[in-house]
Every structure is written in C-alpha cells, then in structure tokens.
C-alpha cells in the first residue's frame, strides 16, 4: 500500500478530484440531512454520473457522498428525532435529549468528530490490513451470523431504559413486522392479507420515519404550545469547547467504538447498523453512568458514532478483496468497479495497486472533510430549532410524507409510516421502547435466514450451532448478556422484570 502512495497521490491530488470530492460532499450532506433520504439513495443517484468519470473519481464520488450522508443523517436525528439510518436510531434518544437540554452544538460536535475519527480509523485499517481481515470474515457461516445477529438483538433489549419484559416485547414486535412478506427461504407470502405491496415486506425507511417522527408530531399537537429557548449554535468552532477534553477522556470509547465498527463492518451483510447498536450496548455495559444512557449520554454517543463511520470503511474490505458487498452502498460500489474494469478480487491489489491505494486515500480525505463541512451543515440546519415546534410540525409531516414515498415511489410507504407511527406512539405511551422494535425490523430477515439455514444444515440439531470456535465464542457472549438480568432476577430483584 505504502509503496504505491506516490502514484496514488498523483491520482488524488488534482483539481478535478478536488472539485468532485467537494461537490459530492455538499450533495451527501444535503441528501443526508433531509429526513427519509438515505445514504444508499444518494449513492444510487450518483451512479449515472459515474458513467462519465474515470475509475478513481467515480469511486471517490460514491465514497465521499456515502460518508457525508451517513454523518448528516445525525442532524435530523438530533433536531427533529427522525433518524436517517438504522445506525443513528441506536443513539437518537441521546442526541435528541442533548438538543432538548440546549446542547445541540455539543451533541452534533461529538457526532461529527467521533464519526470522523471512527471513519479515519476504519480507513487506516482498510489500507493496512484489508486482505488479511477479509480472510477472517470468510470463516463466518450461517451459524456465526445467527449468533452475531442474536447478540445485536440482545444488546438492543439490554440497553433500553424500560423493563426487560417490555424491551423484549418491543423486540418481538419488530421481528413480527419483519416476518411480513415473502419468506427468505421458500418465497412463501406471509401475513400480507392479500396486499401485493406487502410482498416485499414492510419498507424499512417509512417504518423508521414513522416510528420516530409520528409520535413526536402527535405529542407536539396535543402538548401545550411551549417555546423552549434555544441557544444559537453561533460560531461553529464553539462546538469544540470542551470537546477535546471529552474526547481525550473517552479515548478508550473512541478506540473501542472504532474497533467494533470496523470488525462488524468487515462482516458481509452486517454493516454499520449492527456496529452502532453493539457498540452502544458495549459502551453502556462498561459505563459507570448507565442511567444516563438514552437520556443524553456523551460517552455512548462517542462509541456509537465512531462505530457508525468505522463500519462504513470496514464494509469495503470484503467488497474490494472478494467482491462481496458488506452493505447496500458497497453493493453499488462493486457494480461501479466492474463497470470501470476494476474487478474486485485479490488480483486487483496487484494489477491496479495505484488506483486501489488512491481510493483508500479518498476514504481518509472524505473522513477528514466531515469535520469542516459537517460543522457548516450543522450551523445551517440548527436554525430549525429557533422555529416553534407547533409551527414546524406540519412541515415535518410534509417531509415525512415525501421521504416515505420516495424510497420505493409507492404510496403504500406513507401508509406504513402512519400505521407504524401510531404503533410507536402507543408503545411509548405504555412504556415500551421503540429502539428494539426498529432493530427487530432491520435484522429480522437476517436472523430468520441464518436460523433456518443453520437448522437445515444441522438437520434440526442444536450442537452444530456451537461446534465452530467463532460460533461458540459468540454464543457464549449471548449467554453472558442474558445471564446478567436472569441473575438479578434470581436474586429476588423481580421488580426489574415488569
């Protein structure tokens, strides 16, 4: 990698590339900060433009857009409690709680710096160890994926501030919603009530928008019209006040979040969503201030935001080395790479080493650019907070409708948003956390596919689930996660149960 650095730099440091990176950064920030428009959508929209570009600028455009859009999805999450990605749903309550406490600059300042550091960490790992790490990920079979997914789901249940039973029920509701549509093994339609629009399952983006935005909107209409005084973000550099100290104190969190994110990002199909959730759960598990989680923890934000962007870089490891997409964005990148003659695989590191190094270099630049451009985006977007919520609510509903429709260009998305929004409102009113439901919807198909595949492989037996070393290790972790509340309950602390 380092041997090709000179050649890579000549490919990257050109006016043409600077223009592309800057334009794509602005585009990514713009799309990412609109509730309902995802990083995947932003990258997909760029594909036609990449037809007219050379290979390195084409991939650079996608890498930059994705990195910016993923960070920018934290902006509506903080300001409006509408997450742009499933990953930001993991820490949305903390971002929003800090915003309500007049700390929007601080919240997004942590988000932007932790995202950048996590992204740079992931990029460096990608540059140094891509082929070796990809070999490890190849050892993952359906058994390991099943346990990994179960670990992610268990983390979601454990990290909630509600009772264990209510968190578990919330997760089961999410898994139930994920079962709607054609099943992944036999293609049999389930619980669709004859609706063709449900055959593909419940659309995820409208579900995400509805479950977080609609309860907020209902509350803003039925609540008393109060105007919360909000301080101006003002000088963007003031967001860094005390941030250096916090990041230094949270260096372990940064390292841990970045590592978890990178490792999980490398696993095909896992991606940043699971990375952020597991990282947040691990952070809570080892924190001395567990009570603050979900109510505005800065520590948890550092872990999860770092994991979020680190996983994005990690997902490129299997994509580059084996042509296996780590997530939907890398699936698009693989298509572009093939189109440009840079066929992913071990040989590409030999035949086009300079171009691959140049792409890795773009990762670093894009993650470094997150800080200045992200601050600019935050400053502009934070003006939203100065508008009274009741005046803003109808406009947010307008955005929710557009976002829910846009993902599949189908009005059924609006209905999904509304129905799941009402469900989330009822859940929150009755003490059921929404976050586990979201994760259940996201990971339901992954869990089911690997569960059923593993059962077929093991001929219904249980032992093969724990025979392989990595599977056994992950199973042990799941067991450890679940043993804590069981031990608490056995000690007679049964109040924690309900």
């Amino acid at each position: 990698m380092l041997a090709n650095l000179d050649a890579a730099m000549t490919l990257v440091f050109t006016w043409n590339m600077a223009g592309i990176i800057l334009a794509c950064s602005v585009f990514g920030l713009f799309v990412g900060s609109i509730p309902g428009l995802s990083a995947t959508m932003a990258t997909a929209m760029l594909v036609p433009l990449t037809f007219f570009m050379d290979p390195v600028p084409a991939v650079a455009a996608i890498v930059t857009t994705a990195a910016m859009a993923i960070f920018a999805s934290d902006i509506p999450a903080a300001l409006l409690r509408i997450p742009g990605t499933a990953a930001s749903a993991a820490y949305i309550d903390d971002l929003n709680a800090l915003t309500r406490n007049n700390k929007v600059g601080r919240a997004l300042g942590i988000s932007v710096t932790a995202s950048a550091i996590g992204g740079i960490f992931g990029s460096l790992v990608l540059m140094m160890a891509a082929p070796k790490l990809a070999l490890v990920s190849l050892n993952f079979t359906s058994f390991e994926y099943f346990w990994l997914a179960l670990l992610g789901l268990s983390a979601a249940v454990m990290l909630g501030s509600s009772s264990l039973l209510r968190s578990l029920m919330a997760l089961l509701i999410g898994l139930m919603i994920a079962m709607v549509g054609m099943d992944t093994t036999a293609g049999f339609p389930r619980y669709t009530f004859g609706s063709t629009s449900l055959l593909d399952g419940v659309a995820f983006v409208p579900a995400l928008i509805g479950m977080f935005a609609i309860p907020e909107l209902i509350r803003s209409f039925i609540g008393k019209p109060v105007h919360v005084p909000v301080s101006k973000v003002g000088n963007p550099l003031r967001m860094f006040d005390g941030l250096g100290k916090l990041l230094w104190q949270s260096k372990l969190n940064l390292f841990r979040g970045s590592t978890i994110g990178t490792v999980i990002g490398i696993l095909p199909g896992a991606g940043s969503d699971i990375g952020a959730w597991i990282s947040y759960a691990v952070s809570k598990r080892f924190s001395k201030q567990k009570a603050l989680y979900g109510k505005g923890t800065e520590e948890g934000l550092v872990d999860a935001c770092a994991a979020n962007n680190a996983a994005l870089s990690g997902a490129y490891v299997p994509a580059m080395v084996f042509g296996i997409p780590g997530d939907s964005i890398t699936a698009i990148v693989i298509g572009v790479l093939y189109m440009k003659g840079l066929n992913p695989g071990p040989m590409v590191f030999l035949t086009s080493a300079d171009k691959i190094s140049a792409i890795f270099l773009v990762f670093l630049i894009a993650n470094l650019l997150i800080i200045p451009l992200g601050l600019l985006a935050i400053t502009m977007a934070s003006q939203v907070l100065r508008v009274p919520k009741r005046l803003l609510a109808p406009l947010i509903l307008g955005f929710c409708i557009v976002g829910s429709y846009s993902i599949n260009a189908a009005a059924s998305g609006i209905m999904v948003m509304l129905v799941l929004g009402l469900l989330a409102y009822m859940m929150e009113e009755n003490g059921f956390p929404v976050a586990p439901t979201i994760l259940g919807i996201v990971m339901g198909q992954l869990v089911e596919r690997n569960f059923v595949t593993s059962l077929i492989k093991s001929d219904g037996g249980v032992l093969p689930f724990v025979e392989r070393p990595i599977a056994a290790g992950l199973a042990l972790l799941v067991l450890l996660v679940w043993s804590v509340p069981v031990l608490v309950w056995l000690r007679g602390n049964s109040r924690a149960w309900a």
Binding site: M169, I218, R390
Partner: protein, 154 residues
C-alpha cells in the same frame, strides 16, 4: 393513551396465538422439517408468553382500562392530531390521483387551521413549502412525486 397491563397482555396473548396458529398452516420445504412457518412459530409463541407475563406480572393491573393523555381532552389539540393522522391516511389512499402538490398543500393548510389562529401567512407558508419541496424532489433529486391534476403545470 395508557392501556391497562392486563388488557395489553391479553392482546399480545391473542396476537401471539394467532401468529403461531397461522404459521402451522404454512407449507414446509420439501424434505425438510423447517420452512416458512418455523420462525413465526417461535416468535408467535414468545409474544404469547410475553402476553401471559404481562397479564400476571404487569405493573399497572389495577389501572383503568384506558387513560387518555391530558392533551387529548383539549378539543383543539385533539382536532389537530386527528387532522394530521386522518389527513395523512386519506392522502396516502389518494396520493396518485390528487398528487403531492395539491394533496399536501390541503393537508398542511388544514393542519395550520386546526392548530393555529387563522393567518394567511401560514397558509402561504404551507403552499410555498409544498411547492418548493415538490420542485426540489422532482427536478433536483429526480424523485417521481405524482403531480396529480397539476401535471403539466409543475
């Protein structure tokens, strides 16, 4: 809108049982014991068990069956929330026919009328916002939002 834990538990018990019973009717994969019904059976059973746990161990078993949040008792607040929910449902049902610019403008204007004092500026804001979003999404981001009767005008 708080619901008594026993009623909630009973609902989950019925829901879980229905999921499980329906799953038994799903066909198995040829030559396999597992199939499309395997996972729903597990999830349905767990939901039913969770429902039972809520019925017998829920926290607010003696609470009234349904308690509305304070804001719902205010007619104007309740009307605004109802307009938002029913209006969105109606818009979803007729989205392709009425289109986004007209449908969303009507919805947003109705919402402002229901939740705020009458102000022509707010109505102008609603219509202007919808038109800007429509043009931005269709022209800049190439999202095929239906224009409805305004097709050809926008």
């Amino acid at each position: 809108m708080k619901v008594n834990d026993m009623a909630l538990g009973a609902f989950f018990l019925i829901l879980g049982s229905w999921i499980t019973l329906t799953a038994w009717a799903f066909p198995a994969m040829p030559g396999q014991a597992v199939g499309p019904g395997t996972f729903p059976k597990v999830i349905g059973s767990l939901i039913a068990l969770g429902g039972l746990a809520l019925v017998f161990g829920g926290g607010n078993r003696r609470a009234p069956l349904l308690v509305l949040a304070e804001g719902w008792h205010n007619n104007r607040n309740a009307l605004a929330a109802a307009v938002a929910l029913v209006g969105t449902a109606l818009l979803a049902l007729g989205f392709e026919v009425i289109g986004f610019p007209l449908g969303a403008s009507l919805l947003l204007c109705a919402l402002y009328l229901a939740s705020q004092k009458f102000s022509p500026r707010l109505l102008a804001l609603a219509v202007g916002f919808v038109l800007i979003v429509h043009l931005m999404m269709t022209r800049l981001l190439l999202v095929p939002l239906p224009a409805g009767p305004l097709k050809g005008w926008l």
